[in-house]
Symmetry: C2
Subunit: 358 residues, 2 copies
DNA sequence: GCGGATGGCACAATCGATTGTGCACGATAG
DNA sequence: CTATCGTGCACAATCGATTGTGCCATCCGC
């Protein structure tokens, strides 16, 4: 098919025979350490030329086996099909490549069994490091990794058996809540004259911290908070939709401020809001914990919190770079606040770096 | 650290010594072919028990080297951080796992050099198949794959040197355009009494086919189409925003129907639309080629086309399963049409299967 | 002309698993 | 008592690359 090119993949032995040298010479040339091994420059050139014309590529299975290094770094995420995690994949790849590691990202569908299975397979391919992002059971993953001496870091959901880097959900929720309150207008109805929180799962670490941040901010401004102001109804859009519909019915209108705990929940909320007249919407200030480009072009203003993916993974790689796996702390990274100014479209108040999103 | 467990990773040789058998026996047991190799059941049990307590996992570098099989199947995509491609990753993983292959998904950032580099690295890890999704230069990728005898399929963007599976962009655009026209109301102004197309890049295969579909549908209903009705202004939101703003200014209002050629472009369009009074929006019917969950909760109705990711990759895997790499055809897969019915929220007319999106 | 210092490379072991082949032993048949 | 057969396993080669070690030639100095 190709002219001048062997049908089978060529090995260093093929090249050695063609060049009339030994395989170890070929290996030295292709690894760039031929000077240390005192190979003549003419020989090196000849071997390199042959490698090019025969399209030689090293067999990383063989080389990894011998060197007991694979060059692979793995990351597990719950799913690809999600703004937050797909953005994690994108940043992870870049940071891995900068370090000359080859990134492997696999999803585990929030299935604890698949999580462990996937990690075992990654280990069998001899990944050198693992980033455990959003695992349902990080400590079980840690146990497997420890048994195989694979260094790893938890990201997004913390564990107790490895260093963890998570979003500062408490701070983010607190800031968002304060901003919502300060931008909202008082309501004559006492039931409606307070902020509400909707969405998420109360046993989930992230949701719990956000609820705490919300509650503390509300207490700071209103002197107290009632349980009925928080409804961790789940993440699904339908659940959030009916949660807000109930709230609206019970209170005879929208509250002065509404904290929606994910973009998926926001989808449901917006579905309900579309059934209301525009002036009702104007009475409420909306915030969403998580970011979506489309959410910023909805017909009403929306405050958003964007998780700092750069920051989370940057810190994870810092831990890997410095091999500081032993202090099993939980490091918190502040998210970004995206608050449209009163006037128009401009946004943000934060010192955290932003990163461009196509 | 662990009690009862060696510090180093254990090999079949370690297990062999512990069990008092040979490494080949251990290998046979762990591969499940110990019956064919006439290993006593008692021996097999003993080896399996040892493998469990010592948390043995096979070294796939070694096993792959020997068997010259890696168990890996690769896919390259332009980026993760995008609804369409992240959904491709998700489906790809599932289809690969169903076939007991281990999926490797890597992004190439639409950079031709990185594309080739990435493919070469995947090959050096000895992937057995490659799905080339959205490559800027599929034929160069094909050349590398052919030189290394790696079977591959193009998806989304067609090439000439391998079987390609692409969206039926012509059909989708045609159907969307016809639906837009049929649901739109005539305008008194002749300039505004026709549909317009905005977004995309005319040299891009997908955009070109969509423009053809649009043009043919418009011709079918109006007897002709003018060049000014199509503006492939690029994908960026800003470009689409100003393109529609120009159109609005030139025509003295919105056209009766507007075809937006991507969700990113739609973001820009919506930004402009927010500056218009609601009754102006009511005069125009909007369609978007590509799907986004938030786009369906905008304040105005929107017809959408969702690419059939299941269908695209299902067909790609069918080609791999049946090893029919030789007919270098371009196979087209019809997208899904998501058309809200006049009344409310229900959607869709299509026989293509839908798949749930969390 | 001899010893030592390079220069230039080949040899062979090794990484961990797989797999074709063959040996030893006991049971059975004749 | 011996030939045959089946059972149960061990041996050794192999995949492709890496790397410690050592050999041979040449050259230089004296």
């Amino acid at each position: 098919m190709q002219p001048d090119v062997k049908k089978r993949r060529s090995t260093i032995y093929d090249l050695a025979e063609l060049a009339g040298v030994s395989a170890s010479t070929v290996s030295a040339v292709l690894n760039g350490n031929w000077k240390e091994r005192r190979i003549a420059e003419a020989t090196a050139k000849k071997v390199q030329r042959l490698a090019n014309t025969h399209r030689y590529t090293v067999n990383r299975q063989a080389s990894g086996l011998r060197k007991s290094r694979s060059g692979l770094i793995g990351m597990i995420i719950p799913m690809h099909d999600n703004r937050f995690f797909s953005s994690m994949s994108q940043v992870f790849e870049r940071l891995a490549r900068e370090r000359h590691w080859y990134p492997l990202v696999v999803s585990t569908l929030r299935d604890p069994a698949l999580e462990l299975e996937t990690v075992r397979t990654l280990i069998s391919y001899r990944i050198e490091y693992l980033v455990v992002a959003g695992a349902t059971d990080p400590d079980s993953v840690s146990r497997i990794c420890q048994a195989h001496a694979v260094a790893h870091v938890n990201v997004d959901l913390p564990g107790t058996k490895a260093t963890s880097v998570v979003s500062d959900n408490y701070w983010g929720a607190q800031q968002l809540t304060l901003a919502l309150i300060d931008r909202s207008r008082a309501s004559r109805s006492p039931k409606r004259n307070k902020p509400y929180f909707v969405g998420g799962i109360a046993t989930d670490n992230a949701t719990r911290r956000r609820m705490e941040g919300f509650a503390d901010a509300v207490t700071a401004r209103f002197g107290g908070v009632e349980a009925s102001q928080l409804d961790a109804c789940g993440y699904a859009a339908e659940l959030a939709e009916s949660a807000v519909e109930r709230l609206h019915r019970r209170s005879g209108g929208l509250p002065r401020a509404l904290f929606v705990n994910s973009t998926i929940a926001l989808e449901g909320v917006v579905r309900f809001l579309k059934t209301l007249p525009p002036d009702e919407l104007a009475a409420c200030t909306f915030g969403c914990y998580d970011w979506d480009p489309f959410a910023s072009v909805l017909s009403f203003p929306l405050l958003m919190v964007r998780q700092n993916v750069e920051g989370l993974l940057g810190e994870a790689f810092r831990i890997i770079d410095t091999r500081s796996f032993d202090d099993k702390r939980v490091i918190e990274i502040k998210p970004e606040l995206l608050f449209p100014s009163q006037s128009g479209d401009a946004s943000t108040t934060n010192d955290a770096p932003r990163h461009a999103v196509a």
